[in-house]
């Protein structure tokens, strides 16, 4: 038994961290988030693809690396720490869907190489519980509207969930941007009337949902770790009443709580990833628990980080708000807390 990463996995962590430090330092990412209409740095994206990150989970036959959920968690944790803008998890999930469906090696290999940006169009409505007509697939065409399509305006292809199946469509797409509080993520509403190829039944998304839960909770873990580190450094230097504010018990106890939630998220994320890779019977419950827990933990960790920085924490100038906003996106998407609760209950048979 061993919780520590293997040598290869530790190497992956280090090389990912190094790559992100060079290609996506926060100063550069801030500019991309503030100014770049594309929402990510296209040149760095190509190098990222060349390193094999997009095809992390895809089979070698399609130009992928054939790695597992643990490796995805490692990479996502680093992506979260760096607050890297762009559609990373979205593309990985599209690749996971195509891989799980099988027989789409050509599309998959273009995706892994970074040639065709592909994400999954899934949400029907902007507000939870709102009822609107679903997108439908008939006679080889997909018609109807999808909301919160990740990076729809930049996508070359979209996998559309319609009529109990997954359909592959290609640009051009009619996109209405859906800007949110989180500038690291771009969404659009897409009105479909597209020729579409059937990829697989929606049941293929069961596996994708678990990968999504692992990836999103690992991103949240990276975000929380970074916020906590930043805050610990700050409370050690910031002086008030002639002493560092980190010496006040009122802050110390809350920081201890932040560490507890962050480290508990870490246990949950890596255990879930391991369960997915080993096809453990606990995988469904472990994934749902990791995502639900990390989502709620991030409220406390990111929120308290802002609070402990005081006024400067509420400024655009400090990086913290990017993390705070990123966490909010991750909490609601990739299976919201509510959705994960339902999955957990189902998995336990309650």
């Amino acid at each position: 038994m061993k919780f520590e990463l293997s040598e290869d996995q530790a190497l992956l962590r280090q090389s990912t961290r190094d790559f992100l430090a060079n290609e996506w330092p926060i100063e550069k990412s801030r500019k991309v988030m503030e100014d770049a209409p594309r929402g990510y740095d296209a040149a760095a994206w190509v190098r990222w693809a060349e390193m094999g990150y997009l095809g992390l989970l895809a089979p070698a036959s399609a130009g992928g690396q054939g790695l597992g959920a643990i490796e995805l968690a490692i990479v996502c944790e680093e992506v979260g720490r760096a607050c890297m803008p762009g559609p990373y998890l979205d593309v990985v999930l599209a690749a996971a869907a195509l891989s799980a469906a099988g027989g789409h090696d050509a599309a998959l290999s273009d995706l892994c190489a970074g040639k065709t940006l592909t994400t999954i169009a899934r949400e029907d409505a902007p507000y939870a519980g709102e009822r609107i007509p679903l997108a439908r697939a008939e006679g080889g065409r997909v018609r109807g509207t999808k909301c919160f399509v990740p990076f729809a305006a930049q996508a070359d292809a979209l996998l559309v969930v319609a009529s109990d199946a997954l359909w592959l469509t290609h640009k051009p797409f009619a996109v209405t941007p859906m800007p949110t509080i989180d500038p690291a993520q771009r969404f659009g509403e897409v009105a479909f009337d597209h020729a579409a190829a059937r990829v697989a039944a929606v049941s293929v998304l069961d596996r994708v949902d678990r990968i999504a839960a692992v990836g999103a909770s690992a991103l949240l873990l990276g975000i929380m770790s970074r916020c906590l580190e930043t805050t610990i450094a700050y409370v050690q230097t910031r002086q008030a009443f002639k002493r560092p504010i980190g010496s006040f018990q009122a802050l110390q106890h809350r920081l201890a709580e932040m560490l507890l939630r962050t480290e508990s998220s870490r246990s949950a994320v890596y255990r879930a990833a391991w369960c997915v890779d080993c096809n453990e019977p606990d995988a469904a419950l472990a994934c749902a628990a990791a995502k639900a827990y990390a989502g709620e933990a991030s409220r406390l960790v990111c929120g308290e980080s802002i609070q402990m920085h005081g006024g400067i924490g509420f400024t655009w100038e400090l990086d913290l708000h990017f993390y705070f906003k990123r966490a909010k996106t991750l909490e609601q998407h990739y299976g919201s807390t509510e959705t994960q609760f339902e999955r957990a209950l189902n998995a336990a048979g309650y």
Binding site: M1, K2, F3, E4, L5, S6, Q9, I70, I232, V235, Q236, R243, P244, G246, S247, F248, Q249, Q252, H253, L255, A256, E257, L259, L260, E263, S264, S265, R266, S267, A268, Y270, R271, A272, W274, C278, L285, A286, A288, A289, A290, A292, Y293, E338, Q340, F341, E342, A344, L345, A348, Y350
Partner: protein
């Protein structure tokens, strides 16, 4: 990363499961609910259960062979606790002796002390209680004032201990006493005292559960032989701190097993009462998720132990998690069950699955004993986060 138990540990677990199936006739909860059960009869039951475990070689597994050890480690101990929790076995009677004093004697005692005290401790012939807390020294344990003054070959002990678990049933107490009033930590010694020593009085304390599992112990010029000192004079604090680290071993898995069992029963109760509304399901889901994360923490800690890491100050994170979660869990259970959740087990209409009312009350103790949540957060802030001290 590999979170599967090794072949050796799986074998240990399977043997233990088979042994439990053959040797545990009734769950602890069933024993509690038995109308004939009294506090004394339950203590006897725990004594006998301990003897059974001891004969089967399941106590002191990580101690030297002559004291029952069998080359086991923290990993087997954690598996042991998890398995006992999942079948709702009674807790052994002498858990303070075996959990705290045993390790203290093995690491700091003399050969003679080990020979004298360990066998009857394991066999539940002599029950031990822990004399650490005092009315004026709880979280700030080092401010304790019970004194032990050398007078020839005896210590004269004066003072008062409180929250002494099993005090009313114990034969012996291990006491932290002040042998030097000027040296805060270095002035504390670790002394073993027979409770029927003249000058020692034990009084029961009634807990909020209406049980009297703990008591208070008074010392008035009690004469304790000098040979009952463990370690050297002034080493008491250091010894206490090392043994407390044992008490804070990898317990998350055992709690996840125990709470998991109760959450499942709570879910069954929801079905029984047709409580399928969204509000209730969300509460149930939250419990399930938090318990699953606690299990993940336990698996991680177990894997780290199996990988050869020693338990460190991170065990404060474990204690904080399970004890705080216990309170949320039991509150939520009463929410879901409605007023019936508060019925005493003697009530005709009380549920027979879990004594929800008792568990609810007991959950208030976990965040106080064995280092309160405030102390755990202090430890985390200081020793894990390295925050500046005031």
């Amino acid at each position: 990363m590999d979170l599967r138990l090794s072949e050796r540990h799986l074998k240990f677990r399977d043997e233990l499961r088979a042994w439990l199936a053959a040797n545990l006739p009734r769950t602890w909860h069933d024993e509690l609910r038995d109308p004939r059960a009294t506090e004394d009869s339950l203590m006897e039951l725990r004594r006998n259960w301990q003897r059974k475990l001891h004969r089967a070689g399941y106590l002191g597994m990580d101690w030297p062979a002559e004291w029952g050890g069998r080359g086991a480690s923290e990993v087997e101990k954690s598996i042991f606790e998890e398995e006992l929790a999942s079948v709702d076995a009674p807790q052994i009677l002498n858990f303070l002796g075996i959990g705290l004093l045993g390790p203290a004697l093995i690491h700091h005692g003399t050969e003679e002390q080990r020979r004298r005290y360990i066998p009857p401790m394991l066999a539940a012939d002599e029950i031990w209680c822990q004399g650490f807390s005092e009315p004026g020294a709880g979280s700030d344990l080092a401010s304790l004032r019970t004194s032990a003054t050398l007078d020839g070959d005896h210590f004269i002990v004066n003072g008062q201990k409180i929250w002494t678990t099993f005090g009313p049933w114990a034969d012996w107490i291990f006491v932290l006493a002040r042998t030097d009033s000027k040296d805060r930590h270095g002035g504390i010694s670790f002394i073993l005292c027979k409770l029927n020593t003249p000058g020692v009085t034990v009084r029961r304390l009634r807990q909020i559960t209406n049980e009297s599992e703990f008591g208070e112990v008074f010392f008035e010029d009690a004469r304790v032989p000098r040979e009952n000192l463990v370690g050297q004079i002034g080493e008491g604090w250091r010894i206490a701190m090392t043994v407390l680290a044992y008490e804070r071993g990898a317990m998350s898995l055992a709690y996840a097993a125990r709470f998991g069992r109760d959450i499942e029963l709570l879910a069954a109760a929801c079905n029984e009462y047709g409580r399928k509304d969204r509000a209730v399901r969300e509460k149930l889901a939250r419990l399930l998720v938090e318990n699953e994360v606690m299990r993940a923490n336990g698996i991680r800690n177990l894997a780290n132990l199996a990988d050869g890491n020693k338990p460190g100050p991170e065990s404060s994170l474990e204690k904080l998690y399970w004890s705080e979660f216990d309170k949320r869990f039991r509150e939520t259970a009463l929410d879901i069950l409605g007023p019936g959740g508060q019925l005493l087990r003697t009530a005709a209409s009380a549920r027979s699955d879990v004594d929800w009312a008792r568990e609810f009350l007991w959950s208030r103790a976990g965040t106080i004993y064995s280092g309160s949540s405030e102390i755990q957060r202090n430890i985390i802030a200081k020793r894990v986060l390295n925050l500046p001290q005031a």
